[in-house]
C-alpha cells in the first residue's frame, strides 16, 4: 500500500533515518543517469542481435526503452519516492519528525528541490515546471511558424519539422493539462476548502516528481530521430518511426501514472477533507472544475497508458496489436487514443473555466449567477465527454453507421457548455466591473471560447468534417479552446493567485501589456489559420501550396506578437516575484477561504480549522 497515511499516530517505530534528508533532485538526476547508462550498456551487450528473419527489428528499441526505464527507476529511487512504501513494508512508519521534515518545516529554499509533501511547495514546483514546459513548447511553436513563413518550407528539413510538430503538440498538451490543477489545484485548492494539506501528501509529491522524471525521455527523442507522428502518435505510423517514439511512449506512461495519482489524491481531498459546514452547495465552483477535471482523467488516462504500452510492445517485443501484417488494427489505436483524447480536452478546459467562474463574482462584486447551473454544466460536460470520442474518427471509415450517434452526443455537449456561458454572462450582467487582468480574461474567454465552440459545431457535423477534418481549421479550432480559453484562464489564475502564492502583486502594467499582445496576436494568428484551413491546407505540413501563403504569413506574424507578449509576461512574473509590490492578505477582497489565511501561508495553513456557514459568493447579498 503506497498510500499509507503518514500523519497517523503510529509512534514507536521511528528509527532516525538520515537517508531521507540526503535525497534531493541532484541525487535523483545522478542516480537516474547512472542507472540509464548501466541499463544501456548491459542491454546493448546482453540482448541478442536481430536476425534477418524477423519482420520487425527490436533490439534498438529494447535498449532505448530499458535505458529509459533505468532512468525512471534511478530517478524515483534517488528522489526518495520508494522510502515510504518500503518503510511501510518493514512496519517502520515515518515518525512525526520525519513527516515534518518531508513537509518542509524548515521553510528553506532547499525544500523546493526535495521530495517535499507540503501542498504549497508542490504548487510552486508545478508552477515553475509548467512555465518551463510552455517555454519549450513555445520555442518549438515559433520554429514551426517561422518555417511556415514561406510555402516551400525548407528552413527546417521535413524530418526535424515533423519531430518539432510532434513534441510541440504533446508537450503543450501535458503543459495545459497540469497548468491549473498543478499549480493552483495544489497550492490554492486545499486552503480554499479549509484543509491543512492534501489527503495524501506523499502522493502529491510523487505526482510532481513523476512529471520531472517524464521530461528527459521526451526531450531525448530529439536526439533519437524525433517523433514523426504528431502528438496523436497514430499507429501504425508510430511503429514505423525511429527510436524517438520510445521517448514519447515513456513520457506518456510516466505522465499517465502522475495524472492517476494526482486524480485520486485531489478527489479524495475534496470529498473527505472539506471544512466543517462546507456542504456541496457552499463549495466554490473552482473546486468543482478541478475535481471534475481530475475525476475525468482518472478513468481516461489508463486507457492512454495502455495504448502506449501496446505501442512499446509492438516496437520492442514484436507483438502485433497495431501491425496489420500480424492482425493488428490502426482503428484499435484510434479508439483507445480518443477514449482518452476527448475527455482530456475537458480535463484541460474545466479547471480553466472553473477558475474564471471563481473570479467572476470577485471582480463584478455580485453573486455567481446560478451556481446550480454551473455545477450542472460541469457535470454534464464530464458525463458526455466520455461518449463523444469517435467524432475524431468520422473520416477514418471504422464504422460509418456510428457517425450518426456520435454526431448526436457531440452536439449534445454544446448544451452543458452553453450553461457555462450563461453563468458567466449572467454574472457580468449589471455587475460593477473591476477592470483587472482576470476580469479582462473573462471577456477574452467569452470571445475565444465562443469562436472555439462554434467552429466545434461545424466539426461535429459529419458532412462539414468531410471538408475540414485534418486541415488547419481543426488546428485553429483546438488552439482556440485550449489556448484561447484554457491558457487565458491559467494566466488569469496566475495573476489572481500570485499575491497569495508569492506575497507580491503581479506587475499591473506589464501584465496588461502582455494580455493585450497575447490576445491580439492570438486572434490574428489563428483567424489566419482558420482561413487557410477552410481553403484546404492540411495540418502538419512542412510545405504547402503557394495559394495559402498569405494566410500563413498572417499566422506567423501573429505568432511573433504572442511570443513577445509571453516573454513580457515571463519577465513580469520573475520580476514581480522578486521585487514586486508587497500584497496584503486579501488584495482582491474576495470571500473564499484561501484569502483568510496570512501571506505567506503558514506550514499547516490554518491555526484553527474554519467552519463554513455560507457560500463564498455573498457579494451584494449581505445588504438585502
Amino acid at each position: 500500500m503506497t498510500t499509507t497515511m503518514d500523519r497517523t499516530a503510529s509512534a514507536g517505530h521511528s528509527a532516525k533515518s538520515p537517508l531521507i534528508e540526503k535525497l534531493n533532485v541532484f541525487t535523483a538526476f545522478g542516480l537516474g543517469i547512472i542507472l540509464a547508462v548501466v541499463f544501456y550498456v548491459l542491454a546493448a551487450k546482453l540482448i541478442p542481435e536481430d536476425t534477418d528473419a524477423m519482420l520487425i527489428h527490436t533490439k534498438h528499441d529494447q535498449i532505448i526503452l530499458l535505458a529509459m526505464i533505468g532512468w525512471f527507476i534511478g530517478f524515483m529511487v534517488g528522489i526518495g519516492a520508494l522510502i515510504g512504501p518500503f518503510r511501510w513494508l518493514l512496519g517502520k512508519d515515518l515518525s512525526h519528525d520525519e513527516n515534518m521534515f518531508y513537509a518542509g518545516k524548515d521553510l528553506g529554499t532547499k525544500r523546493y528541490f526535495r521530495y517535499t509533501t507540503d501542498h504549497k511547495v508542490v504548487g510552486i514546483q508545478y508552477l515553475v515546471t509548467t512555465m518551463i514546459i510552455f517555454g519549450v513548447g513555445g520555442i518549438l511553436a515559433m520554429l514551426i511558424r517561422t518555417n511556415l513563413g514561406n510555402p516551400e518550407g525548407g528552413w527546417i528539413h521535413p524530418q526535424a519539422y515533423n519531430a518539432i510538430v510532434g513534441i510541440h503538440g504533446i508537450i503543450m498538451i501535458v503543459g495545459t493539462i497540469i497548468m491549473i490543477t498543478g499549480p493552483f489545484g495544489n497550492f490554492v485548492m486545499p486552503i480554499m476548502i479549509g484543509a491543512r494539506d492534501m489527503a495524501f501528501p506523499r502522493l502529491n509529491a510523487l505526482s510532481f516528481w513523476l512529471i520531472v522524471a517524464a521530461i528527459p525521455p521526451i526531450l531525448s527523442s530529439f536526439f533519437l530521430g524525433g517523433i514523426m507522428t504528431g502528438w496523436t502518435a497514430y499507429e501504425p505510423l508510430a511503429s514505423e518511426s525511429p527510436a524517438g517514439m520510445d521517448g514519447y511512449i515513456m513520457f506518456i506512461c510516466i505522465f499517465a501514472i502522475s495524472t492517476m495519482v494526482a486524480g485520486a489524491n485531489i478527489t479524495a481531498t475534496v470529498v473527505r477533507m472539506r471544512a466543517r459546514g462546507m456542504t456541496w452547495n457552499r463549495t466554490p465552483i473552482f473546486i468543482y472544475g478541478v475535481v471534475a477535471s481530475v475525476a475525468l482523467a482518472l478513468p481516461a488516462f489508463p486507457v492512454f497508458f495502455l495504448s502506449q504500452i501496446m505501442s512499446a510492445f509492438d516496437r520492442a517485443m514484436g507483438t502485433t496489436f497495431y501491425n496489420p501484417a500480424g492482425g493488428g488494427s490502426g482503428w484499435l489505436y484510434e479508439n483507445l487514443f480518443w477514449l482518452m483524447g476527448h475527455p482530456e480536452v475537458y480535463v484541460i478546459l474545466l479547471p480553466a473555466i472553473g477558475a474564471l467562474m471563481e473570479m467572476a463574482p470577485v471582480f463584478t462584486r455580485r453573486p455567481l449567477f446560478s451556481f446550480n447551473v454551473a455545477v450542472m454544466g460541469i457535470a454534464g460536460i464530464c458525463g458526455l465527454s466520455a461518449l463523444v470520442w469517435a467524432h475524431h474518427m468520422y473520416m477514418s471509415g471504422w464504422a460509418p453507421l456510428l457517425n450518426g450517434p456520435f454526431m448526436l452526443t457531440t452536439e449534445l455537449i454544446s448544451i452543458p457548455t452553453g450553461m457555462l456561458f450563461l453563468v458567466l454572462v449572467g454574472t457580468l450582467w449589471r455587475g460593477r466591473l473591476w477592470l483587472t487582468v482576470p476580469m479582462a480574461s473573462i471577456y477574452a474567454l467569452l470571445w475565444n471560447f465562443m469562436i472555439g465552440g462554434i467552429t466545434g459545431i461545424y466539426l461535429s457535423d459529419v458532412p462539414a468534417d468531410g471538408a475540414l477534418h485534418g486541415t488547419m481549421f481543426v488546428t485553429a479550432h483546438f488552439h482556440y479552446t485550449l489556448m484561447g480559453a484554457g491558457l487565458t484562464g491559467a494566466v488569469a489564475s496566475l495573476s489572481y493567485w500570485f499575491p497569495k502564492m508569492t506575497g507580491r502583486m503581479l506587475d499591473r502594467r506589464l501584465s496588461w501589456v502582455s494580455f493585450w499582445m497575447v490576445q491580439i496576436g492570438f486572434n490574428v494568428a489563428f483567424i489566419g489559420m482558420f482561413l487557410v484551413g477552410l481553403a484546404g491546407q492540411p495540418r502538419r505540413v512542412e510545405s504547402y501550396n503557394a495559394m495559402f501563403n498569405r494566410g500563413n504569413m498572417v499566422t506567423t506574424a501573429g505568432a511573433y506578437v504572442i511570443m513577445t507578449g509571453m516573454l513580457i509576461l515571463l519577465f513580469a512574473v520573475v520580476d514581480s516575484w522578486r521585487n514586486g509590490i508587497k500584497a496584503s492578505d486579501n488584495p482582491w477582497f474576495a470571500k473564499t477561504l484561501e484569502w483568510s489565511v496570512p501571506t505567506p501561508v503558514p506550514l499547516e495553513n490554518f491555526a484553527t480549522l474554519p467552519v463554513v456557514t455560507t457560500d463564498a459568493y455573498g457579494y451584494g447579498k449581505a445588504k438585502s
Binding site: M5, G91, L298, P299, F313, T319, N335
Partner: protein
Amino acid sequence: MSQETTHAHHEHPDVVGSRNRLGVILIIVADVAMALSILFVYFYLKGQNVNNMWLPTATEEVPATVPVSSMGAFYIAIISAFGMLLNGYALKGAKAKNQSQLTLGAMIAFAMSVIGLVYQIQQMNSAPFTMRMGAYASCYYLIAGLNALHLALTAFISLGNWNRARLGLYKTDHWHVAIIQVWWIWMTVSAALGAFALSFT
C-alpha cells in the same frame, strides 16, 4: 466564521481509514479502466481479424497459432480468490483482536500471491506460441502480463501486511487490512475477467 475544531495531528483512525479507503478505490477505478480496455483490445482484434491474422494459419517457417485453454487463467483467478478469502480471515482476526488468526491469514494470503505469480510466469513461459505470432498471441500475453503485474503488486502489499501483522501494528486499528481486502477483491475480479475473455478464442 471560524472556530477551533480538530487538530490535524490527532485525527481519529476511522477518519484516516475512510480517506485512505477512498484513495485506494479511486486508484482501483483507474486500474479498472485499464483492465476493461484490455478486454476491449482482445474482443476488438478478435472481431476485426485483420488479414486473417487473429489466429494465423501455418506457413513454411511458423506453425499455426493454437490457442491455449483458458483453464490456466481460471486457476489464477481461483488462487486469487483463496488469497482474498484468507485476507478476509485475517481481517476478521484483526477485528476480533485475535493476533494469531490475523498473522496466519496474512501469511497464507502472501503465500497465495507468490504461488499465483510463479504459476502465471510458468504459464507464460510454457505457452505454445510467442507474442510475435499474431493478434491472439499478443493479446494472450497482454492479459497474462496484467495478471503478473497485479500479482507482483499483491505480493508486495500482502508481504507488508503480513509483516505488519506480525509486528503487532494492527492492534489499535485495522483499516490497512480492510483496504487490502478491497484490493484483493479487485485482483480476483480482474483475473476472472481475463480468464473469461480468454475462454473466447
